[in-house]
């Protein structure tokens, strides 16, 4: 049987490593991209939230984060993205099947989004500044602390934003719109200098 072809990121061809814009000594921001091994959205029904949380905890081995927060362990990120809704990002494939077994439809719904998003990492001293320039959201740590998750948009491009630390964010960008998001990030990053790795 043929081997499964490589997955191609929607940013392939655009994402060229190097330093760009006003880089003097060190760049203001660094960008990198990755595809998720598995990205699965979990949706509970109003009465089943507790049960779904228990399933998630058991399958992922992670405590379930409160609204607008994420928990991480090893290769797994569990993000709260809406009422009774979570997004699980796992390095390994096969997550959807694993969860589906544990989560019958009377408890909730599972939707695979592995190919629907590309993750762009934005880090560096100017990360907050760059993101603020295009996303109408308060990025101050008091409003958006490390470990926080927010859903927002840059013009018509929706993004889920996970803040890993003071100067580090991951943007879950829609596959078909990733080009547009990348275009903006390069525009915004040029002023402070950006490094693509």
């Amino acid at each position: 049987m043929a081997e499964i072809p490589d997955r191609i990121s929607p940013l392939d061809g655009l994402f060229e490593p190097g330093d760009f814009g006003a880089v003097t000594n060190s760049p203001g921001v660094e960008y990198s991209q990755r595809l998720c091994g598995a990205l699965v959205q979990v949706q509970a029904w109003p009465g089943t939230t507790g049960k779904v949380e228990a399933v998630l905890k058991q399958v992922l081995g992670l405590p379930v984060p409160k609204a607008r927060l994420a928990h991480m362990k090893d290769e797994t990120i569990l993000m709260s993205t809406g009422p009774g809704r979570w997004l699980v990002d796992d390095e390994m494939e096969g997550l959807e099947e694993k969860l589906r077994k544990a989560l019958p439809s009377d408890l909730g719904a599972l939707t695979g989004l592995t190919h629907a998003r590309v993750v762009i990492s934005v880090s560096g001293e100017k990360a907050e500044w760059v993101l603020s320039s295009g996303i109408a959201m308060d990025f101050h740590v008091n409003a958006f602390p490390g470990g926080g998750v927010q859903l927002g948009h840059h013009h018509e491009i929706g993004v889920t934003i996970h803040r890993l630390g003071a100067n580090h964010f991951e943007l879950y960008a829609f596959t078909s719109l990733a080009h547009g998001l990348w275009h903006w990030l390069t525009h915004a990053g040029a002023e402070v200098g950006y490094r693509v790795t």
Binding site: P5, P10, A22, L113, H115, D138, H155, E156, I157, S176
Partner: protein
């Protein structure tokens, strides 16, 4: 006016070279273009709007009505820049505007000769032209208008795109401070001390506001030095952001402000990688507005001559820029600040020849300031006229009686080349007025004050009518405390400096016009005179808003910052009313004009984002012309070299019917519908039944709007008992998603349904044609694609080159066809695999045109037929409207007019004689010359290779009863008139043998 650089300042600062109207000059670092021109003795800077009269420099800030120039060239060409605001840089290139051939000699100035006839409202009374019927009636005005349009206008616009970039920034804060004068600094300091997140904006290059030229000592330091230290200290705080060269332009609802940062306008061109300007959207919890006050003039005859300027501006040129505004300056005032301006100018080395005050007497300390200026003093006097050709040479002074507002005594002449006028101060509450705040008149200060707060803002300093430095600091801190409370903070600490210096009265005498013979200008840019105001009154345009619109007072680029109150005063006097009874016009955003590109921000040049399918690059590389379809770009056709779009799509469509083709359908909207109630939910959404759709089957569904008209269509696949994949039209995807979510959340919250857009998760390829099954059979594994195992409308999983896929046997083309979906990241690999598998059948990729041709031949409806005005019945889809269940739109779809027989109904037409039917045709009975009224129109038109004829789908009145009728498809705008036959829209394979086969 013949300004010059004052001795004391001659050596300071770096020399900067610049040109004005092609002539070279030298200015100094720290100059504005205005101060540099003044230092070089240039007095005529531009021409007025209507009469083309010479205009000089009137102010020293953003309120400037007169000194407008064109800056830079090429794509950076920018008209109507205020010389008083632009900071000088090496190589600056400026030109005067609205003049021909030159600014000193302008032929259009003949307009002045007809001055009286050109009075306000004159256009409305003439140019109607001779009375003629029909189209001709208006031609006369239309003819004249072109000349008028050419004479009007200020600078010229650029003709090429701008090479610069623009950016945006979003900011949140606890306390926004607008204005970094004394009040602003005090407010920011206080707010910062409480730990609040503070943003302070000032439109000038440096903070300090009026402190930069103030004669006072603060904590023993000169005010300017104190201010710059204070700004530095603030800037060092982590919780304070200071934005200079940043004008807060607009206040919007919810304490949202738009500020524009001129990041690079003080440079020749932007620093590399930097934007020219940045638009800040600032969302504040509370705001201190400390925008100061704007000085206003007194109106008198001949007051528009270059050399007449505001007193505080003249003072600032001398004190802050080291430039004398003239060789001999006369001050004309109705308040004490004029005297201080005279004194400060004299201290800086300017010769003040006279101080003319309308008041009969002044306080001792004011009189002392006058003495220090060594000027001749005229109390109870007024300037009644000026002398000079283009420039000012002197003024006439007469006695003036303040209470009776009358002139008397002999006319005396004073020689001066600059008149510095002060008519008092108008608080700058523009931002609060923008939100609809009603200003209130203060009779004591003779000024409008901001009035009640409409949002979480607090006024401070001169903006709130609290004049004087001591007041500014005190009210700045008070406002900060209120703002802090509003934002949920403590009160912070006070740090008001010790102030030594004048404590003067800012209240002026209520005199804003000296009525004497000669043209007295109220609005310097629009050439509105005091007589125009009186004429408006005579003609009944007495409401302020009528006055404004009839005379255009305050409608120029300065929006009347220095002329509104004087205009009101004249109207008030004419109506024998008080100023507040007359009222004031509303300020609107922006505060000062803003470059359009700044408001487009980073979007300048990049309208909406393109949605790209995973196969996008392949399409482009293979000759596809990409075509906008909703937010996506899709291949129109794949053109071989030399091939037209029509040739290409006919070839592609023919190939599909003969053999096989494939098309990228990744753009279809795809929605994951899951949950125990998913089937019930779909059953309520679609007009046809979905409750009993078996697992592993797809069904074509129709959705109606609430009002019973067709909304969208598509196939929905039952993947599982509780799991469906809905597809929508490409353009309709967003609206359908919202429609579903709305019904789930608002109408039926008790249904357990999860809705997720998976449009980006799946790449989709449709494989169509008699050989399609063979193509799949050649590459699909883990799935039997035989007719028995995968019948029409069946849905299965499988693999292609190891890629997991969904395969649904659906047909849009009427051929045997399949849609194959896989994870988007594999989309290209799937495409390649299908192309390879089809190679021996000569598989072709086909684009939108061929796709459309195939479905037209089959009579399938799409976007053009779902135009928002059609019902299922209109399109022959009544059979898909269930009468056994209730669904969205069911009831209103039953209204009699929507079921009527005389509606436009779907038909097809075929060209009878081989002539081409062109898109957008109407169906008529008459000849080309007399076509008659429209009975219907074409919707989707193509050449059909299957029928070997030009055909079209069409909507025709009572169409279904008219098959066989001969008509014309007329297209006068495209010059065609084609004989057609009305036929059944199911043109190819009406029984469906091919797709079921």
């Amino acid at each position: 006016m013949s300004g010059f650089r004052l001795k004391a300042a001659e050596t300071g600062g770096k020399a900067l070279h610049f040109t004005f109207d092609g002539k070279s000059f030298v200015g100094r670092e720290g100059d504005t273009l205005a101060s540099a021109l003044m230092a070089n003795g240039v007095s005529i800077v531009g021409r007025s709007f209507k009469y083309h009269r010479p205009r000089g420099i009137f102010t020293a800030g953003s309120e400037e009505p007169s000194a407008l120039v064109t800056l830079r060239s090429g794509g950076r060409h920018e008209p109507n820049v205020r010389a008083t605001e632009i900071e000088l840089y090496e190589g600056l290139e400026a030109r005067s505007q609205n003049r021909w051939p030159s600014v000193r000699f302008d032929l259009m100035a003949v307009n002045q000769l007809a001055g009286k006839a050109f009075s306000a409202g004159f256009y409305y009374k003439t140019f109607m032209g001779p009375r003629r019927a029909g189209h001709k009636a208006t031609q006369f005005w239309y003819f004249c208008e072109q000349f008028i349009r050419r004479a009007a206008g200020l600078g010229k616009g650029a003709t090429s795109a701008d090479p610069d970039t623009y950016s945006r920034m979003n900011a949140w804060c606890d306390v926004l401070v607008i204005g970094a004068g004394a009040a602003g600094i005090a407010a920011a300091g206080r707010a910062a001390s409480a730990g609040a997140r503070v943003i302070m904006c000032d439109e000038r290059a440096r903070g300090g506001g009026s402190l930069t030229g103030a004669p006072e000592l603060l904590d023993g330091q000169p005010a300017a030095e104190w201010a710059s230290d204070a700004m530095e200290e603030l800037a060092e705080l982590d919780n304070v952001t200071i934005l200079t060269r940043t004008t807060v332009q607009s206040m919007f609802d919810g304490d949202t402000y738009l500020a524009v940062e001129r990041v690079n306008d003080h440079r020749d061109e932007p620093k590399r990688h930097q934007p020219r300007q940045r638009a800040w959207t600032i969302r504040a919890a509370s705001t201190v507005i400390a925008t100061g006050a704007i000085e206003r003039p007194i109106v008198f005859a001949g007051n528009d001559r270059p050399g007449v300027m505001l007193a505080d501006a003249a003072r600032r040129y001398a004190v802050e820029y080291g430039v004398a505004p003239g060789r001999a300056v006369a001050v004309f005032t109705n308040n004490d600040t004029g005297w201080l301006a005279a004194r400060d100018m004299a201290r800086a080395g300017v010769i003040v020849s006279a101080i003319v005050d309308v008041r009969a007497d002044v306080q001792d300390d004011v009189r002392k300031a006058g003495e220090e200026s060594r000027a001749e003093i005229f109390l109870g006097a007024a300037i009644t006229g000026t002398r000079g050709w283009q420039e000012l040479q002197g003024a006439h002074v007469r006695d003036f009686h303040e209470v009776s507002n009358t002139l008397g005594g002999k006319k005396r002449f004073i020689g001066c080349d600059c008149i510095a006028v002060s008519g008092g101060w108008s608080p700058a509450f523009h931002l609060t007025s923008q939100q609809g705040g009603k200003p209130q008149w203060d009779a004591e200060l003779q000024a409008f004050l901001p009035g009640e707060a409409s949002a979480n803002w607090f006024g401070a300093g001169a903006m709130a009518g609290k004049f004087g430095l001591r007041n500014a600091f005190r009210t700045g801190e008070e406002a900060a405390v209120r703002a802090l409370t509003q934002a949920g903070f403590g009160e912070g600490e006070s740090s008001v400096p010790v102030i030594e210096g004048d404590a003067i009265d800012y209240a002026p005498a209520p005199v804003l016009e000296i009525n004497s013979p000669g043209k007295s200008f109220v609005d310097l840019q629009h050439d509105v005179t005091a007589d125009d105001v009186r004429l408006a009154h005579r003609e009944g345009f007495v409401s302020v808003e009528h006055l404004k619109r009839y005379t255009t007072l305050g409608m120029a680029t300065d929006q009347g910052k220095t002329s509104n109150v004087t205009g009101l005063a004249i109207m008030a006097q004419t109506r024998d009313m008080s100023i507040p009874e007359v009222g004031t016009t509303r300020f609107r955003p922006p505060y000062t004009p803003v470059a359009l590109a700044t408001l487009a921000g980073e979007q300048y040049g990049h309208l909406s984002t393109v949605r790209r399918t995973p196969m996008h690059d392949w399409h482009v590389a293979n000759g596809a012309h990409m075509y906008a379809n909703g937010p996506w770009l899709r291949p129109e056709s794949y053109n071989a070299p030399g091939e037209t779009v029509e040739q290409a799509y006919i070839r592609e469509a023919r190939k599909v019917r003969e053999s096989v083709g494939l098309v990228d359908v990744s753009t279809l909207g795809k929605i994951d519908v899951q949950g125990p109630d998913a089937a019930e939910f779909l059953n309520r959404i679609y007009s046809n039944g979905f409750a009993k759709l078996p697992v592993g089957k797809a069904r074509y569904g129709l959705m109606l709007r609430e009002d019973g008209f067709l909304f969208d269509d598509g196939t929905t696949w039952r993947l599982d008992e509780h799991r469906f994949l809905m597809t929508t039209t490409t353009a309709g995807a967003g609206h359908v998603m919202e429609h579903l979510e709305y019904h789930r959340d608002v109408v039926w919250p008790d249904l357990k349904v999860a809705l997720t857009s998976v449009s980006d998760e799946w790449a989709g390829v449709a494989v169509a044609g008699p050989k399609s099954r063979q193509v799949l059979a050649a590459c699909v594994t883990k799935c039997d694609v035989s007719n028995e195992a995968l019948p029409f409308m069946g849905v299965r999983t499988g693999e292609i080159v190891g890629i997991p896929v969904w395969i649904a046997r659906l047909s849009f083309s009427g051929e045997m066809a399949y849609e194959v979906y896989c994870g988007a990241n594999w989309g290209q690999a799937l495409w390649d695999a299908l192309m390879a598998a089809g190679e021996k059948h000569d598989i072709v990729p086909y684009g939108l045109e061929a796709l459309s041709t195939l479905r037209i031949e089959k009579g399938h409806v799409a976007g053009p037929e779902l135009n928002g005005r059609t019902t299922p019945g209109d399109l022959g889809l009544q059979g898909m409207v269930s009468s056994k269940k209730n669904f969205v739109g069911a009831v209103l779809n039953n209204r009699p007019a929507m079921q009527a027989e005389d509606r436009l109904q779907l038909v097809a037409i075929r060209s009878i004689d081989g002539q081409r039917i062109i898109g957008g045709s109407h169906l008529v009975k008459g000849t080309k010359d007399e076509p008659g009224l429209s009975e219907g129109h074409t919707t989707s038109t193509c050449f059909s290779p299957a029928l070997n004829a030009y055909i079209s789908l069409a909507l025709l009145e009572r169409g279904r009863a008219r098959f066989g009728e001969k008509m014309y498809a007329t297209n006068p705008v495209r010059d065609s008139h084609v004989a057609v036959e009305v036929i059944n829209p199911h043109m190819v394979d009406p029984k469906g043998a091919r797709m079921h086969g």
